[in-house]
């Protein structure tokens, strides 16, 4: 990673490069140091790239130079192969979605008029605009007939944020710039909006530059993260997994902070790991059969499943003794800590810590039993991730050319 161009090129074999910043700089008059100092960065098509760093590191300045809300003083911006450093800024901005933290909805316009802004500027006809408004409101889960004619002041913070995203998508831009878009929203709503946004992005596959100061948000939202130091110098530009497992230097390690291993658990899902086996019995089985099953395993309790293989009950040997003669679903403990395969390991860990038997039950969408996550499976997963990341980092160090480094991850 001594070669700066290698460090600033995505470490994953990139598809098309959508945005290319070349030696970009911003020097404010009368300031001793540039706000952005000779930044070179490539942003691949269809990915969310997060610019993250401490306040004052120049991340917002960097983002605002892409749509030239702030004009760069040096360097070039290449958008989809075209040099837009000197292009007409208004025409450029109509092709780039823009969401800011305060959202900035126009309070005197209805939701429909807000969303119609860019299509109108682009000169679409009314029919097409109306259809687009309804489509976008549906995309952000807001019923068009209810919300079309409301004003921003009649919406909650979360709804305004959704409209902000819908408005930024209205002209169907290939690129979106988002400046702490979830920053001013309460934690619970933020989490929900982040998930919704990731689901939406899976459909629309926009190229997104996303600014935040919150490393957890960066890890959750980013396909790639650029960790920036003062002057927008890149400390590391890599995937969240790689940044967490193999921080490039002390600055990155400090910025991630403690608990990198725990954060990494947010990146793996239950479906990606080997589930543990557990003794199970059927709801109709007699107690003798359960005792036999328990003896045959080293676990102290068995999971009772019904005909559809849905978990119904935990039973242990003492439960069987105390509840002699009673049906299996009347003794023991109800099943808890049930997770689905798309849950993150962090969710699973959270569940299993609070569960009576310290295991999380994995079921599929129909509720049918798939296996168990216990602390050992999570341990194992962390070990694997660490080994993989070290191997990748080693290969990255050995490779000189960015292209070769790019091959490593896929």
């Amino acid at each position: 990673m001594t070669d700066p161009s290698a460090a600033n090129t995505p470490a994953t074999a990139p598809g098309k490069i959508m945005i290319k910043l070349e030696n970009l700089g911003k020097q404010y008059p009368k300031e001793p140091k540039p706000a952005v100092d000779n930044l070179t960065l490539e942003i691949p098509e269809g990915e969310i790239v997060i610019l993250v760093g401490p306040s004052g590191c120049g991340k917002t300045t960097t983002m605002k130079m892409i749509n030239r809300i702030i004009e760069p003083t040096s360097g070039r911006i290449i958008l989809d192969g075209e040099d837009v450093t000197k292009a007409d800024p208004d025409q450029l901005r109509r092709k780039i979605g823009y969401v800011i933290q305060q959202i900035g909805l126009f309070p005197h316009m209805t939701i429909a008029e807000n969303i119609a802004t860019v299509p109108k500027l682009l000169g679409w006809d009314k029919k097409k605009i109306d259809a687009r408004i309804d489509e976008l409101l549906q995309t952000v889960s807001m019923a068009p007939e209810t919300y079309r004619n409301r004003y921003p002041k009649q919406l909650s913070g979360g709804q305004r944020q959704r409209v902000g995203v819908a408005r930024a998508l209205s002209g169907d831009p290939a690129v979106m710039l988002m400046d702490e878009p979830f920053g001013a929203i309460d934690p619970i709503t933020r989490d929900r909006l982040q998930n919704e946004f990731l689901r939406l992005q899976a459909e629309v596959r926009k190229t997104i530059v996303f600014v935040t100061h919150d490393i957890d948000e960066a890890i959750k939202m980013g396909d790639r993260i650029a960790i920036l130091q003062e002057g927008s110098r890149i400390a590391q530009y890599d995937t969240p997994e790689q940044i967490l497992t193999a921080p490039a230097n002390d600055f990155v390690a400090d910025f991630i902070g403690r608990g990198a291993s725990l954060k990494r658990l947010n990146l793996s899902r239950v479906r990606d790991i080997q589930l543990s086996e557990w003794p199970t019995v059927q709801l109709g089985d007699d107690h003798a059969k359960v005792v036999e099953t328990l003896r045959a395993s080293d676990k102290g309790f068995a999971l009772v499943l019904d005909e559809q293989r849905r978990p119904r009950r935990w039973v242990s040997a003492p439960d069987l003794q105390r509840g002699a003669g009673r049906a299996l679903d009347e003794i023991g403990l109800p099943p808890e800590a049930i997770v689905e395969p798309q849950a993150t390991l962090n969710d699973a860990l959270n569940e299993l810590i609070t569960a009576n038997y310290s295991v999380a039950i994995v079921v599929d969408a129909s509720g049918s039993y798939q296996g168990i996550v216990d602390i050992d499976s999570i341990n194992e997963a962390i070990r694997t991730m660490r080994t993989d990341a070290r191997a990748r980092a080693r290969v990255g160090l050995d490779t000189d050319s960015a292209d070769e480094a790019g091959q490593v991850r896929r």
Partner: protein, 224 residues
Amino acid sequence: MKDQTFGEFLTEFFEFLGRRYDDLLEVGLEHMGLVALSVLLSTVVGVLIGVTTYRTERPREIALAVTGAFLTVPSFALFILMIPLTGIGWPPVIAALTMYGLLPIVRNTITGLREVDQATIESAQGMGMSRGERLVRIELPLAWPVIVAGVRITTLILVGIATIGAIVDGPGYGTFIFDGLARVGSPAAINLVLSGMLGVIVIAILFDVILAVLGKLTTSRGIR
């Protein structure tokens, strides 16, 4: 006159109003036309001055200082000073009233435009609206309630000052008041001044109500 009871005075005053009814109405309409025209001119000129100066400190301060200085010129003097430029009758009065009406409108236009949320403007800019589009479609509509408040103040000021316009043969209730002034001591004097004054008050209230309704109708429901 001293022996007159209040009741007798009222009876006589109402008789006067009945007698001069047509006259009062005609003069009232002239007064309203005069004020309406001056307010319109003040609004157009004032908003233009506000729009061109609100972004930069120096021009903004100069605009406020100059329009503020207009208001300190005694109206009596200004009307008379206008005569060489405009002659007598309506023109000097309209010119002078327009000048007097500028300050509240310029001040409120500047305040209103400067109070528009920066995030709203930045998102408009980020969506590719030019400076002109931003001004017309975002900033002015959002500043509008504040501008209308300025127009209402201007209107109230001008309804009052317009009476002095009679000194240069201008129209309006000023003619009644100056007639009364010329006949101080005669019973008609009080009637003339009082009817002129009441007419001015009625017009002021009428204009204020009209502008309040107009302001409401022209302001988006989203910011009311």
